[in-house]
């Protein structure tokens, strides 16, 4: 009240603030996400993002495919398509999956706007608020975001260097069932895991399937990196061992380019039919143009050879990162992936990757704090480093800068050692995903 007795009404700058659905409650800009804005500067070596190195893809191959599509099928390419995706591409997707031992039929495939959309649709179909989704510890930040948006309860299950630990899965399920919790599916990235870099061993795959089958838990297998191995190919997909208990998600984002936004789901037929209906409700149809260009590319180009090219690029970069970590950060530990894009670095407990990020930005290096990959506040003593986009020289420079950050932080913490608690209170605000175009 002012002295004149006028009642002043506040303005929270969002007239619809009280109208948002409960599921939108966590959607807010955070300081961490704001710091990623600096990573877009060329002076900053970003080891944070997940952008594939599409410059290794000859653009003339794409232009040729586009020209052919427009010349021969222009009106169709520019028109709405069917909700399941174009049949020819779905046939070709079967050929791609066959490399990893997967057999299926065209009628079990639905093309989506990136596999991210497939992830979203599966979650939409199965999750009621409070339902449990099991996920590896850590897990893909984009999946956690989707699961949260449907108000799922994400429960993490431990991994080691061979991937998801079967006994940990068994125990987690028993514990949750004992609490009367409803488990809808296990979300897993078995190959060259994002963010952990590890691969589920061939020996464990049947056991994981058996555990889920015995407990009537569906498996959602997300495999965007499966063909990007450096040495030995990854073991055959979980879906190759079980056709009814696994929904398989695939993508052309890493084996071709993410700009097309073409992914797919291979699902048991009844689920697949519902996925089509859900997809049509969301986007009417996936992009006809994108699908047809991808299909044409697969028809006329040596796409297997291109994947080999990508493998060579990423292997060189991975090696650069491992070498640099060994030289500059010998006191830390990390995974050494046989494929994919990421290395998971674990730091001493005294270090907090989220709190360290502002210092890193000042030192012109960016990474993704480990907290982004957990739904339960863990991950503070870890970080994900991506080697997919920067050159080997930039990777080396970035890791050297990171070492300066880590050492500076250790020096600062050492100053205060023994004076009291240096741990950070868990925030009730989760860290949303870095933007997709973060390099």
């Amino acid at each position: 009240m002012t002295s004149e007795g006028i009642t002043r009404t506040g303005n929270n700058l969002d007239p619809w603030y009280s109208n948002y659905a409960e599921r939108a409650g966590g959607l807010a800009a955070s300081e961490v996400r704001a710091l990623f804005a600096v990573a877009s500067r060329p002076e900053v070596v970003s080891l944070a993002g997940g952008m594939p190195f599409v410059s290794a893809l000859p653009q003339e191959l794409i232009m040729s495919s586009m020209e052919t599509v427009m010349r021969e099928h222009g009106p169709t390419a520019l028109q709405y398509g069917g909700g399941a995706g174009i049949p020819k591409l779905r046939e070709q997707i079967l050929d791609v999956m066959a490399i990893e031992g997967i057999r299926g039929t065209v009628d079990n495939v639905v093309t989506t706007t990136g596999s991210q959309q497939a992830l979203d649709l599966v979650t939409k179909l199965f999750i009621d608020p409070g339902d449990v989704i099991l996920a590896e510890a850590p897990s893909y930040v984009g999946a956690i975001g989707v699961f949260r948006s449907y108000q799922a309860s994400v429960v993490h299950v431990a991994m080691d260097e061979n991937g998801l630990i079967p006994e940990a899965l068994r125990q987690t399920i028993a514990h949750l069932r004992g609490q009367g919790r409803r488990i809808k599916f296990l979300y897993t990235i078995p190959n060259f895991h994002n963010p952990a870099g590890v691969t589920l061993s061939a020996e464990r795959r049947p056991e994981i399937l058996d555990i889920c089958r015995a407990n009537e838990i569906l498996i959602l297998e997300d495999n965007p990196y499966g063909l990007l191995h450096f040495d030995e190919p990854a073991p055959n997909a979980l879906r190759s061992l079980d056709e009814e208990g696994v929904i398989y998600l695939g993508s052309f984002s890493k084996t071709l380019a993410p700009g097309f936004r073409v992914g797919w789901a291979l699902a048991p037929h009844a689920i697949r039919e519902k996925l089509i209906l859900a997809a049509e409700a969301a986007v009417l149809s996936p992009s006809s143009f994108s699908q047809m260009v991808v299909s044409q590319y697969l028809s006329q180009s040596d796409w297997r050879g291109q994947i080999d090219t990508f493998r060579g690029v990423y292997r060189e970069r991975k090696d650069a990162m491992i070498d640099a970590l060994t030289e500059y950060l010998p006191g830390l530990s990390w995974t050494n992936p046989n494929g994919g894009f990421y290395v998971w670095v674990t730091m001493p407990d005294v270090l907090d990757s989220k709190q360290m990020l502002p210092r890193a930005v000042k030192e012109l290096v960016a990474y993704t704090p480990g907290t982004a990959f957990f739904a339960d506040g863990r991950g503070r003593h870890a970080m994900r480093l991506s080697f997919c986009y920067p050159t080997p020289e930039a990777i080396r420079l970035g890791v050297r800068r990171l070492a300066s950050v880590v050492n500076g932080e250790l020096d600062l913490l050492d100053t205060f050692a023994g004076t009291g608690s240096l741990s950070v209170s868990a925030s009730d605000r989760y860290d949303e995903a870095p933007p997709a175009d973060l390099k």
């Binding site: 929270n12 700058l13 800009a29 600096v38």
Partner: protein, 325 residues
């Protein structure tokens, strides 16, 4: 009307600088876009640029009529870029470099404001080196004994509440110090003042600092954190504030005094806590206040029935005229 006046009536070529490499880059980009839009709406020819190695050659070759700074954080507020603009003879909206340097250092600004007789919370200012040299345990013991109640730990420079902690339990002091030192080599431990948090924006009208209506800040969480500042809905703003006319005037006078004694120019924002007796306690001053959708200066303009486009345009013309003289 003289020829010089005819020239002034035309639109200006304005370069808005936003972004940079600082912790506040994201906020700066948002401020810059809004400033550019407002200046364009006022009829000027506007270029939005992110400072990089090509900036200085661009400015010295293209010679814009004026540079409008929206570079929050060290990029634009520590005086370095301003020094260069002054050296190159490029007009800009904002405080001179010397004044910017005084304002950028929170301890220095606080000392000057206290010496001028305004209320400033008790502070201890410490560098990381001081902790190393004297022993953190000993230092923290003295700190803990020096204050009653909550303290605010903040970096010695920087905005947007980055690195700021409110400590009730002195066992949390070490972590709060580490967080502050992440952003600056100097950290401030300050007595927390309980009261009404306000921001008073100053704009210069015909060269005279004029206080806009104070904006009262009431974060939903109780803490005006980064998230509370930049997410609509997480803070309730009262513009004008709910302070009594007398207390509002007292705060306005204090803000004008701060602006003047530090030698600031064109625009600034002074943050206070007004206690139960109406005393405005100085927190900090900002020479490049935020211009985003959730920033207090645009709210204050609105409360004063002023158009952002007109005000920014007037400031730009005044800056251009400084060069023309």
């Amino acid at each position: 009307m003289t020829e010089k006046n005819l020239i002034m009536a035309d639109s200006l070529n304005i370069v808005v600088l936003a972004g940079g490499i600082s912790h506040e880059r994201d906020v700066s980009l948002r401020s810059g876009r809004r400033a550019a839009d407002a200046l364009a709406a006022a009829g000027h020819s506007v270029t939005l640029r992110d400072p990089d190695a090509s900036l200085l050659p661009f400015l010295t070759e293209s010679r814009p009529d004026v540079v409008f700074l929206a570079l929050h954080g060290s990029s634009g507020e520590d005086g370095a870029l301003i020094d260069l603009l002054e050296a190159a003879g490029i007009p800009f909206v904002g405080s001179p470099s010397e004044a910017a340097r005084l304002a950028w250092s929170k301890p220095v600004a606080a000392s000057l404001v206290r010496r001028a007789g305004l209320a400033v919370p008790e502070q201890i200012v410490l560098s990381h080196e001081a902790f190393r040299e004297l022993g953190a345990a000993s230092v923290l013991r003295v700190v803990a004994d020096s204050f009653d109640g909550d303290v605010v730990i903040k970096p010695g420079s920087g905005g947007s509440a980055q690195g700021v902690s409110i400590v009730s339990d002195y066992g949390s002091l070490p972590r709060a110090m580490v967080d502050a030192f992440t952003y600056s080599d100097v950290a401030i431990i300050e007595q927390r003042i309980v009261g009404t948090e306000i921001a008073v924006a100053i704009i210069e009208v015909d060269g005279e600092p004029t206080a806009l209506p104070a904006v009262e800040i009431e974060p939903v969480s109780g803490v005006y954190s980064f998230e509370a500042r930049y997410n609509a809905g997480e803070t309730t703003f009262y513009a004008p504030s709910r302070l009594s006319d007398e207390n509002a005037a007292r705060a306005s006078d204090a803000a004008v005094a701060v602006h003047s004694l530090l030698g600031l120019r064109d625009l600034s924002r002074v943050d206070f806590i007004v206690d139960g007796e109406g005393v405005p306690w100085f927190l900090e001053v900002n020479v490049l206040p935020g211009l985003t959708e959730t920033s207090s200066l645009p709210l204050a303009l609105d409360a004063d029935s002023r158009s952002a486009a007109e005000v920014y345009s007037t400031l730009a013309r005044a800056a251009a005229a400084r060069k023309a003289r």
